[in-house]
Amino acid sequence: MPITVMSRSFGALERAQHIGLEVAAPVADAVDRDARFPIEALSALRAERMLGIFIPTEFGGGGCSIADLSAICATLGQYCSATAMIYAMHQIQVACIVRHAHESDFFAGYLAELADTQSLIASATSEIGVGGDVRSSVCTIEHDDGSFSLTKQAPVISYGEYADAILATARRMPDAPPSDQVLALLKREEFTLTRTSGWDTLGFRGTCSPGFTLTATASDDHILPAPYANISSETMLPVSHIVWSSLWLGIATAAVGRARAYIRAEARKSPGKTPVASVRLAEVVSRLQGMRALVNDSVRDYESIMHDSDALSAMNFAIRMNNLKLICSTTVVDIVSQAMLICGMSGYRADSKFSLGRLLRDAYGAALMINNDRIYGANAAMLLVSKDD
């Protein structure tokens, strides 16, 4: 069922719906089973020019909004969580470049190239040795006559082996403190990845996210001009939490869809007798509506101040975006679990059309990507001084 979430470019949403249903869904179980990259769906998204959809039209992109991205991620998330996550993570990187670097000659050219080639960008923000704090780096940019080199021990780089470019965080220079970070674009021919671990996980198996040693050399203009602190608070964090929550909404929607189909099939078997679990369905549908409302509200919240850097740096905005992530990442597990109770053994079976195993395994990943305890800790600290709810 298509999710209509305030989208303004229905063409894009229809293409996402088509790719999700016709291309991603048929191989979603195989992608999950084999922990392989969803090449079919990503090729289709590239062919349909969906990878450059957030690039402004002046650079040849689709010029879509955050609301559109949210709706597309929610749609893809219904069919293949890995496809939706890869798509979402790519768009987060694009959003960072669009907002924080389009005035640089190099990045203006790169955005046009990106729109033309529909390249896929991965992210290397986490690092071994910083205890999960992405606002802290060990590795550093080392300048040498107009170019720089970088070596980073990344515990995960999602779809790193399939990406055309990587955006990586690093300290600004060798004597900079861990929190004084920049974001650098590394193109395929400028980096090498040496695999340091595997990716055999409970869920999101198709994101192919092993650890790597990343080494790169690129020219100085590949470093985004804005400090990463600003990029993080104005774009990376809010956009991440919005597109992730949107795709989790897609997972929850798919689970409720299966529960609804199951109850309907039961009702048809014995007309006049309401299936036992139908009350539970009513309950889970209400949870889904709440989740969808929160995603939409957060999109509106962000879009209403997205051109005001000062407002985006406010504590109360950070707390609200963190809460979006905290609530949606746990609600998706609750909703899929409820759907499992409704479908019973049919949901538990791996070979039934009501099967919910993959969705439940994927849902459990939501609380771990930027661990919820870390986010609660950040909110707890901010609430020592912030008073505005």
Partner: protein, 85 residues
């Protein structure tokens, strides 16, 4: 007032250099101020100057430089000469 701000920075901001050598318009985030340390710095300043930062001041810019902190505190202590010493 600036000396009191510097004392508070020394106590709570965990910067990577001597606070005495940081000019009033230097970027404190580039000196290693983290968002977590910013919270402690705010609490320290609230205690030192007997003020409470209103929500509109809880933004990155307010704590970006010693000069910005001074302006915010001056605004909050206007009419309270004792606290601004």
């Amino acid at each position: 007032m600036v000396e009191k701000i510097r004392d508070t920075l020394r106590q709570y901001a965990r910067l990577n250099r001597d606070v005495s050598g940081i000019s009033e318009d230097a970027d404190l985030y580039a000196c290693g101020l983290t968002s977590h340390a910013t919270v402690n710095l705010m609490l320290g300043l609230e205690d030192a100057f007997q003020v409470e930062f209103p929500e509109r001041m809880l933004r990155r810019r307010t704590f970006e430089t010693i000069g910005n902190i001074r302006e915010s505190i001056a605004e909050l202590t206007a009419g309270l000469p004792a606290a601004a010493s």
